[in-house]
C-alpha cells in the first residue's frame, strides 16, 4: 500500500508539473511538426479535413503545423531547375469533395509539361484547398504555403468567400487568429472587421486540460496516416448524394440582404493582403465555375448561394478590381455545364476539373513568362 501511495504521489507530482508547465510553454503547435508523413507514410495529397474519420481516414483539425507536416508539400524538397512549383488555394471545389486526389484541379495540373522560354518545365502542383468558404482561411494557408517557395499561386475563389461575417467563422481561422493577425501585420493591412474580433486567449483555453482534444488530434492524424498510406483514401465517397437544387423560391437575398450586397461588407482587403504576402510570386485569381440553374425562379437566383442581382454586381466589381489593380484574373464562372456539378453548386466532377485545367494550361505559361 505504501508503494502504491508513493506511485500515486509521483504521478500527481508529474501531472502537476505538466499542468503548470504546459500553459506558458504552449507546445501543441510545435508538436504538430512531429510527423510520420513524408517518411514512414507518404504525404497527404490534400490538407486534412473530414467529419467521418472512421471511413475517410481523415478529419479536421486546426493545428497548421500538423496539417502542413502531413501534406506532401512538406516532403517536396527543393525544386529542380526543370520544375515549376504551383500551389492551388481555394475551397471545397479545389480540395475536391467527392473527387479522388488525382481527379482534382491540382491533380489534373500536376505533372503537366509547359514550355517556358523555349525549355520544357514540369508543373509540380500542390492542392492547398480547404473545404470552407472564407478568404481569411485562404490567406492563412497562403502565408504557410510561401514557406515552400512556390513559383505560382492559383487562387480559385467565389463570392461566398467574401462576406466579412464568413471570415472568422471557420474553425481553422478561429483557432489561428494570432497567425492571421501576424499575416495581416506583415502585409501592413489591418482590416477593421478583424480588429474588433482578435480577442485574447483565456488562461483556461491555454491549459493542458483544455487542449487535450487538440493533442489527441495530433496523435490521431498520425494513426490515420497508416490507412491513408495503405488505401489512398482520404474522404468518404457515398454511393449516392443529393444533387444541387435548381428550383428556388423567389428569394433575392444574399446573407439576408436583398438586392446588391454592399461592398463595405466584403473582405476585398484580404486579396490585397494575399498579394502582399505572396510578394514577387504571381497570384492568379480565378472566379471559380458554378452551377447556373435553369429551373424555377432562375431569373432571380443562379443557384443555392447566389441571387442574380447580388452576384452580377460582385462579378462586375471583381472584374473591375482585376483591371484597375492589374491583378492576374481569370473569369471561369460559367465555363462548366450543369451536368458536371455533383452535390453542390460549386463542386464539379472530374470532367469539370479537366475542362478547368485545360483552360488554365492556356493561361499559366503566358503568366509565368511575364
Amino acid at each position: 500500500m505504501r508503494r502504491l501511495l508513493r506511485i500515486l504521489l509521483k504521478t500527481l507530482l508529474i501531472l502537476a508539473i505538466l499542468l503548470a508547465g504546459y500553459t506558458p510553454l504552449q507546445p501543441e503547435p510545435m508538436l504538430g511538426k512531429i510527423s510520420f508523413y513524408n517518411g514512414l507514410f507518404p504525404g497527404r495529397e490534400r490538407l486534412p479535413f473530414g467529419e467521418t474519420p472512421r471511413t475517410a481516414y481523415n478529419f479536421s483539425l486546426s493545428n497548421l503545423n500538423a496539417m502542413f507536416s502531413s501534406h506532401k508539400i512538406s516532403g517536396a524538397g527543393k525544386l529542380v531547375s526543370e520544375e515549376i512549383r504551383v500551389v492551388v488555394l481555394g475551397d471545397s471545389s479545389t480540395w475536391g469533395t467527392l473527387l479522388k486526389p488525382e481527379e482534382t484541379l491540382a491533380g489534373q495540373l500536376d505533372g503537366k509539361i509547359i514550355e517556358l522560354n523555349g525549355t520544357e518545365q514540369t508543373l509540380q502542383v500542390f492542392n492547398l484547398g480547404y473545404p470552407t468558404l472564407s478568404l481569411s482561411k485562404d490567406l492563412l494557408l497562403l502565408n504557410r504555403a510561401m514557406e515552400y517557395q512556390p513559383d505560382l499561386i492559383l487562387w480559385p475563389l467565389t463570392m461566398e468567400s467574401f462576406p466579412i461575417d464568413k471570415q472568422l467563422a471557420t474553425a481553422l481561422v478561429a483557432d489561428n487568429l494570432k497567425e492571421l493577425s501576424t499575416t495581416f501585420q506583415k502585409a501592413s493591412i489591418s482590416p477593421q472587421w478583424f480588429e474588433s474580433e482578435k480577442g485574447t486567449e483565456s488562461w483556461w483555453s491555454r491549459s493542458l486540460f483544455s487542449q487535450r482534444r487538440a493533442l489527441w488530434d495530433l496523435i490521431r492524424l498520425q494513426l490515420y496516416g497508416f490507412l491513408w498510406a495503405g488505401t489512398g483514401i482520404d474522404q468518404d465517397y457515398p454511393q449516392d448524394y443529393p444533387k444541387p437544387t435548381i428550383d428556388f423560391q423567389a428569394d433575392d437575398t444574399f446573407h439576408s440582404i436583398s438586392g446588391v450586397y454592399p461592398d463595405e461588407l466584403m473582405a476585398w482587403d484580404v486579396l490585397e493582403a494575399g498579394l502582399k504576402t505572396a510578394g514577387d510570386t504571381p497570384i492568379l485569381f480565378i472566379n471559380e465555375p458554378m452551377l447556373i440553374s435553369n429551373g424555377e425562379n432562375s431569373d432571380i437566383r443562379y443557384n443555392f448561394y447566389y441571387p442574380v442581382e447580388a452576384y452580377d454586381y460582385w462579378h462586375r466589381e471583381f472584374l473591375n478590381r482585376c483591371k484597375s489593380n492589374q491583378w492576374h484574373c481569370q473569369d471561369y464562372w460559367d465555363i462548366l455545364p450543369n451536368i458536371v456539378f455533383t452535390n453542390s453548386a460549386i463542386h464539379y466532377n472530374l470532367e469539370g476539373a479537366v475542362v478547368l485545367s485545360e483552360k488554365l494550361m492556356e493561361t499559366i505559361p503566358k503568366l509565368l513568362e511575364q
Binding site: 500500500m1 508503494r3 502504491l4 506511485i7 472512421r54 471511413t55 490521431r220 494513426l223 490515420y224 497508416f226 490507412l227 498510406a229 495503405g230 488505401t231 489512398g232 483514401i233
Partner: protein
Amino acid sequence: MFLLDIVILLAAFFIIGLIRNPKLRTALITVASVLFVFYLQPLVPIRNFDYWFPFLTLSFTLLTWAFCARDPDLPIQANRDELALILFPMLIVALSRHTPFNTLFTASRPPALWLSLPAIAFLFILLTGSVQLLKKNLTVLYSVLITLLISLLVIIKMPCLALKASEFLRSISGQQIDSALASDIRWLGYSYIAFRLLSVVIDRKKGRKLFVSPGQFVSYVCFPPALAAGPIDRLDRFAKSLAGNFLASIPYDDAFQRLAIGAFKKFILADGLAFIALSQQNHAQFQSSCWTWSALIAYSLQIYFDFSGYTDIAIGLGLLVGIRLPENFNHPYLKPDIARFWNNWHMTLTQWIRSYVFNPLTRKLRSNKQRPLPQWLIVLLAQFVTMGLIGAWHGVTFNFLIWGAWHAFGLFIHQLYNDRMKDRLLALQQRPQIYQLYLLLSWLLTFLFVALGWVWFVLAEPGDAMAFYRMLLMGRIP
C-alpha cells in the same frame, strides 16, 4: 466496458475490499454483482430490454442455483437473507423508474412497475416452488435447462435467428419490426454467463454435488469484472473465496499494477492499433500486400491486447476485493506451436471446452470397442468438434466455423507431426543452437498461422476472406 465503468467498478470494489468482515464483504459483492449486471448492460434498441436482459440473467442464475447448486437439505427459508440481498436490489432497480435517478442503474428508464414487479414476484414463486421439484428426478429438468441455455446462445450468436428474435421482441414491445437488426440482441456477457451456468448444470447432471448459497452463486456467475469478457472461473474455486477464504490481505500493489497494465493494453495499445488494424470496412481497400500484412499483424496484436487487457483489469478488480480470478492469457503469441498457443490463449474457455466437450467426446469415441476408430480419426474428429464449437461460441457464422476448422486442422497436423518427430526433436535438443533456431522458426510459423487465421475471424464472408488472402499473397487484384 468503458473507462468510466472501470473507474466506477474500481471505486466500488476498493471500498468493498476495505471491509474486513468476510460475511459483510461477501454480501456487498453479491449486491454489487446484481446492481452491476444492470449498470453494465448497454442500451438495447428494443424497448426496456436493457432491463429485461439483466433480469433474465439473474433469473436464470437463481433458477440454476435452485435446481443445481442449492443444498436440498436446507429449506429455502435458510437462504432467505441472501435471496433478499439479490431480489431487493432488483426491486430497487425496478422502482428507480419513479425516482429522479431513473437511468442510474439501467441504460434507459426501467419498465413500468406493473411489468417489473410481477416478474420479480413470479421469480420468487418459482424459487420457492423449486423445493418441491427437487424431490423428484431432475435429469429431465437438467436436460431442459441445458437445451434452453444453449438455444439462447445459438439465437444470440446466429445472425438470422437473432434477427428473428429481435423482430419478435420488437413486436411484443410494440415497436416497428422493420427496423429490427440482429445486433439488437445485445445481452451483456451472456456467452460467459451461459458457460458458467452450463458447467454447473452439466456437473450436477453427472451427479457432482457442489452446494453454495444463492449470494455466492450470483456473485460467481455475475461477478462484474468478469461479466463482459471473462475469465470463466470454476464454481468450486470461486466459491472458496466467497465462503470467507478471501486473500489474507488485499494485494493493492498487485491489483493496481494489473489494472494499470490492463488499462495500458486496452486503452492505449489495443485502441491505438484499432486505427490501423484489418477490419470489415478496410479489408478491400488496401493497395499493396505490404500494407495488407501490416493491417493483419496489427489486428493480431489488437485482439490480444484488447482481450488480455480486459483480463488484467478483471483480475486487478478481483484482487481489490480479495478474489484471485484465473489467468486467461500467458504470452500466447510467444509460443512455438499451435497446441501451446491454445493452452495459453483464452485459457479458461479452452479449459472449459476441454473439460466439457473434448475429453468426454474423446472418451466416447474411444469407448466403441466393437468398431474402434483409428487414433488419428479420433483426434481429428475431437479437434474439429471442439474448435468448431469455439468458433461458434464467437458467432454461428460460416467464417467463424472456418476459423475453428482452421485451428482444428492446425492442431491435428501439429499432433501428427509431434508423434512422428518426437525422437528427432529429442535428438535436436542436444544441439542447443540449432534447436533455438528451430524454436524461432516454429514460433514464426505458429504466429503466421494464427495471424492468417484471424482473417476468417474478422471478415464476415468467405469471399471477402479469400480476396484478402489473394491480396496478402499476390498484391492488388484488379
